[in-house]
């Protein structure tokens, strides 16, 4: 039902949302206005906490109870903020639909996908009768590119991959041919290759059905690819709005400029084969046994890491790239002897595979790890000072308290944090600051080798660039050896002098970063790069869903 009128489809006027917690009031959205015409895509861009998602949720009044958005949201001339709950229900899932970020939790795990999609059709009464509904569900699944839709009807969400689940979510959103489609970071949780496919899909579907799309993202690369208009949000306000070409060509607001400039830049140190070897690993294997039957006989293995060899040299970074599930993190943990593995590992020329945990302890000060999630990797019950000082206490028991505090303060200052933060808890810090704390914890022991396990993926773009700069700076000053694990090739390009491309536990391609980035030899690498740098789907059969 296309909406024909000369007015815009959706007009948001002066929308404000205030959250109250105790006596504290937070203005999450502050006087936001924009409009959206049928067939066009508006991208809301901003860092986390800038109020993008709250804006989207208040359009259909899906905010938590007791939070009342102020202003006007006119959809086809009707104010959604004042209409009744029944009217809203008729609009939600019918004329306006949403897709959320996390495909793992937005589907009900107890219902088959046929039932989940069929429910929407049934509720809004466009389709009657089981046979009709089934036919329409199959049609929808086909439309969103699920292979063999008839066979997939009875599948449950856990039987689908992340990308497929997001496709099912999109099928649900499209079921009733909406006029407005709201996508809240629909690809953030997906691999780059899958992300490219989903974006492609959304674009074709939008063109075919002529719907308006409100696209929320923090990734400017995606904006450039998909949007017609852009609204940049900062601290609950729209600081700049324009056509997509003009925003990128001539950004006006300093924040927009900063965002656009925030892509990780700089080049890694050149490959230097003469630098001393820090870590050398040969034929690393991590196999998890699959046990079946009453006697738990091992019937096979999940080969998480299967015969990987690598050398990390002083002052150099080895980048490990690959999709999720390719065994990157497992490889990092195996090198640090945090999980069981087979194969030789030599650290500074000493064999460390087979050492017991007590025998490993002296080596621990020289090898450290920084994890992906800065929210999960800091114990919420310890102060920042305690967290960073933890390793010091183990490695040097005799250190007096005042001395220890001083060393911790220095480590914090080194990573660009205020030493006065020593006595505060991690939850008072932003994601980027927390990642700095995690880096300070690794650095305080002055290690020689650090495994960086996706240290930037949970962070905002501009913060990513800062962390990358910090890491490069620390490496230069201290001659550190990094093993940098990431699926984000832009970050890897900025840091790694050597690259290992992994897929299903095996090395697909390895060598100096410059060569691999310039002319990737395998189809898989090429597809990965196309998806990461141009958000393009490479027609390589090498890719799965």
């Amino acid at each position: 039902m296309p909406f024909v009128s000369d007015q815009p489809l959706l007009t948001v006027r002066d929308l404000s949302v205030t959250f109250t917690q105790g006596d504290a009031k937070t203005l999450a959205v502050d006087g936001v206005s924009f409009s959206l015409e049928p067939g066009r895509t508006l991208a809301l861009v901003g860092e986390s906490g800038s109020g993008k998602s709250v804006t989207a949720l208040s359009i259909v009044r899906l905010l938590a109870q007791g939070v009342a958005p102020q202003g006007q949201v006119l959809f086809k001339g009707e104010d959604l903020l004042t209409c009744s709950e029944e009217q809203l229900r008729a609009i939600r899932g019918d004329a306006i639909t949403m897709v959320f970020q996390e495909p793992m939790t937005s589907l009900n795990p107890l219902h088959s996908i046929e039932r989940q999609i069929g429910e929407i059709l049934e509720l809004h009464g466009l389709c009657r009768g089981a046979a009709k509904i089934r036919a329409r569900v199959i049609e929808l699944l086909e439309e969103v590119g699920i292979p063999n839709p008839e066979e997939r009807l009875s599948a449950y969400p856990h039987q689908l991959s992340g990308g497929q689940r997001q496709r099912v979510m999109i099928a649900m959103a499209l079921a009733n041919r909406p006029d407005l489609f709201i996508a809240d970071e629909p690809t953030t949780a997906l691999d780059v290759t899958v992300q490219a496919q989903i974006l492609e899909l959304l674009k074709t579907l939008q063109k075919r059905h002529g719907m308006a799309m409100l696209f929320i993202t923090h990734d400017l690369g995606i904006v450039r690819k998909i949007a017609d208009d852009v609204a940049v949000m900062q601290k609950g306000r729209i600081v700049e709005a324009n056509k997509v070409g003009e925003i990128f060509a001539a950004p006006q607001h300093p924040y927009t400029k900063a965002l656009i400039a925030a892509e990780p830049k700089g080049s890694p140190p050149a490959t230097d084969l003469s630098a001393p070897t820090i870590v050398e690993a040969d034929d690393i294997r991590v196999w998890f046994p699959i046990k079946r039957g009453f006697l738990r006989k091992t019937v096979g293995h999940v080969k998480a890491v299967d015969g990987v060899s690598l050398t990390v040299r002083e002052g150099q970074t080895v980048g490990v790239v690959g999709e999720s599930g390719s065994g990157k993190t497992t490889l990092g943990l195996a090198l640090l002897r945090l999980i069981r593995s087979q194969g030789n590992i030599a650290f500074l020329g000493q064999r460390i595979d087979g050492l017991q945990s007590a025998a490993m302890r002296p080596y621990r000060r020289d090898m450290q790890i920084v994890f992906q999630d800065p929210y999960g990797s800091l114990s919420p019950r310890l102060s920042v000072g305690d967290i960073v000082a933890e390793g010091l206490g183990v490695q040097n028991r005799a250190l007096p308290v005042a001395e220890r505090r001083e060393i911790v303060a220095r480590a914090l200052a080194d990573t660009g944090l205020d030493p006065a933060a020593l006595d505060r808890y991690p939850h008072e810090f932003s994601g980027g600051q927390r990642q700095r704390i995690a880096i300070a914890r690794a650095m305080v022991l002055e290690p020689k080798f650090i495994v960086l396990d996706e240290p930037t993926s949970a962070l905002d773009m501009s913060v990513q660039a800062q962390i990358v700069d910090l890491l490069r700076d620390l490496q230069k000053r201290r001659g550190l050896a990094y093993l940098f694990i990431s699926h984000d090739l832009k970050v890897v390009r900025a840091l790694a002098s050597e690259i290992i491309v992994m897929r299903q536990g095996k090395v697909v391609e390895a060598g100096p970063a410059r060569n691999i980035l310039k002319e990737p030899r395998s189809d898989y690498t090429r597809a990965l790069f196309a998806a990461a740098f141009d958000i393009k789907v490479e027609a390589a059969a090498a890719l799965d869903q």
């Binding site: 621990r364 990797s377 001395e403 001083e406 914890r441």
Partner: protein, 391 residues
Amino acid sequence: MSLPLARNDLGVKRLAPALPSRGFLRLSPINQRRFANFKAHRRGFWSLWIFLIFFVASLGAEFIANDRPLIVSYKGEILFPVFHNYPEDKFGGFLAETDYRDEVIAKEINDNGWMIWPPIRYSYQTINRQLPTPAPSPPTWMLSKAQCESAAKRFGGHNQDKGCDAIEWNWLGTDDQGRDVLARLIYGFRLSILFGLALAGISSAIGITAGAVQGYFGGWTDLISQRVIEIWSSLPHLYLLIIISSIITPSFFVLLGILLLFSWVSLVPVVRAEFLRTRNFEYVNAARALGLTNARIIFKHVLPNAMVATLTFLPFVLNGSITTLTALDFLGFGLPPGSPSLGELLLQGKSNLQAPWLGLTGFAVIAAMLSLLVFIGEAVRDAFDPRKTGR
């Protein structure tokens, strides 16, 4: 190993903020904030004060309710009967222990000096031999003037025309053996709290350790201990208690030991579940990567994060301990006869329905005590929650 980081000797300016001046309690900044959070929880804070006043007062029960004077001056000699047993022949009697309430002895002492009595002149086992009505006797303020006067006449008091002031008061009446209820309450409260604290303390120490070890190591350790605990906790506690208490006389410590055998299990599942959840978090991995020992990871990294669940449970464990003792006393399998016990008071209330002051006082005291403890536990839990920053 050398320590490359100690660069202070180079004369570089110190970066670390000075350790904040610590107040009266010498609390670290984090503990100061916890204390502030605790104070912000008004109900819990006031509960703690009320509880502390009663608890500290009951610790000095001998100075509040006793059948001996605090200080006696007799023929120029200062005596402290609270601390010391004086044989009665010192005052011209013949018993091994002096009965200071005996009129002859009291007169002898008052003639040759003076006595300072505690506010209540009964101990928990003192029998009031001058009851105005047959035991259980109601609180003195509930008596009619005629009842008081007749009692005063009967026992030959001095001020027979003064009504109820002529006889010795029992503020909450007496039980069915003529013992003062208030005195027994004060002693019983102390005993219950001490028993509850000891039982809750020891059993949570054992339970948390067991749960932590099971949850942290998982696998076979967890599997075997879980089965052992299942079998252990399916033993019939009450029957065992009854059997054991018929073989050995249940004293305070025997009861504590027997109840401990079973009560430590209650915290294990909570702590174990928290540990199973927490042990896979990245900060635990990070701690392993720093080379920390398992014990240190358990106590410094995992346990504090499992603490909210544990602390939420702790007041109930404490209350449960107190209630168990009360219940055992009520059934008659608890502390030896004659001990001041809230459970025994309830039992008397049950068997003497015509004397409602027994049951009502017992109920009120137990209800108030348990509520106060739960409120305090609530505030402690809030104080340890790092996301809470006061209100």
